[in-house]
């Protein structure tokens, strides 16, 4: 799994590739903690290269949403592959974290 970030003011776009599961979710948590600590409160997850997400992965995104909201911002995701989208649909995760159609839509959903 790899995470790269693109910062734009108080917004950060995290481009994630690979699987988000119990073994890789600490990397997500680390990236989120660093972003929030650095003053970013609006987080966008580019999920186009994420092929798999487990419950531990979903929990890491939930905690990211909790932290961002506590900082006065929020989280949005875009680019869900079909298997990941199925997980989001069944868990109703979209009710907590907005699912956007593109990076521009994700920015709009976060008011950026």
């Amino acid at each position: 799994m790899e995470i790269t970030s693109k910062i734009d003011g108080d917004l950060v776009q995290l481009n994630v590739s690979g699987s988000i599961d119990a073994s890789t979710s600490p990397n997500v948590e680390q990236a989120v903690n660093a972003a929030i600590k650095g003053g970013r409160k609006r987080l966008i997850f580019d999920m186009r290269q994420v092929s798999y997400i487990s419950s531990a992965g979903l929990r890491a995104l939930l905690m990211a949403a909790k932290q961002a909201k506590a900082a006065g911002g929020g989280v949005a995701v875009f680019g869900l592959q079909s298997e990941v989208e199925e997980v989001f649909t069944i868990s109703g995760f979209g009710k907590i974290v907005p699912i956007a159609t593109s990076d521009a839509d994700a920015r709009a959903k976060l008011g950026a």
Partner: protein
């Protein structure tokens, strides 16, 4: 201060303090809820993980908690992968002493005390009243906070809500007005966690089976 596992907490919530036993309304699903709570705890400690198809071990290292480690060892020893619901059903059926084991550890940690009470002045039975109701109040406060604060819930509270909902504890805590107001939120939060959804599924199956068994007598 003792840190309770989710399995401990759901037992505290299921206890009827007036009789010092698991509330009779929860008894049929108590084993399912405890098994689910143990699996949830293993998931929070990142010993296991789940997806829509299966539950699997990611770290077989013992946690130091005997009950959690029994379950972890059994899952690790299973050659085939199975869904969470299969494990909840299998482990709750295989371990028929789950309620007793949790009650014993709650007594050992000073949260409950063990008493002998008399039924019809003759028959002795063991009762487990709470030493103080601090743990119960704290767990209920967390549940209410998840339901009535518009915050993103943390995973532990999300999982506890799933257990409380599937055992009927939640509907006993909430007034009918609160139930109406929080119905959508309960559904939303319970859906978030795969193991929480599976506990609800297995608990409903157990209730349906009990209804079928009792049907000829009605």
């Amino acid at each position: 201060m003792t840190t309770l596992t989710l399995a401990d907490e759901i037992v505290v919530l299921m206890l009827d303090d007036t009789i010092g036993e698991i509330n009779p309304g929860c008894m049929n699903v108590a084993g399912v809820a405890i098994a689910g709570g143990i699996l949830m705890e293993l998931a929070l400690r990142e010993n296991i993980d789940t997806d829509l198809k299966s539950l699997f071990v990611v770290n077989p290292k013992p946690t130091g908690d005997a009950l959690l480690d029994d379950f972890l060892a059994e899952i690790a020893a299973e050659p085939e992968r199975h869904p969470s619901a299969w494990w909840i059903d299998t482990l709750s059926t295989r371990h028929t002493d789950l309620v007793e084991r949790i009650l014993a550890r709650l007594v050992a940690s000073g949260i409950l005390r063990e008493e002998e009470r008399r039924f019809l002045w003759v028959f002795a039975r063991r009762a487990y009243p709470q030493v103080s109701d601090r743990e119960e109040r704290e767990a209920k406060a967390r549940l209410m906070s998840v339901l009535f604060n518009d915050e993103v819930p943390n995973p532990r509270d999300t999982l506890l809500l799933g257990l409380a909902n599937s055992t009927g504890v939640l509907s006993a805590i909430l007034s009918s007005d609160e139930q109406d107001k929080s119905a959508a939120r309960i559904e939303e939060v319970v859906a978030l966690e795969e193991i929480g959804r599976s506990v609800g599924l297995v608990a409903n199956q157990v209730r349906d089976a009990m209804t079928m068994m009792l049907a000829p007598y009605h």
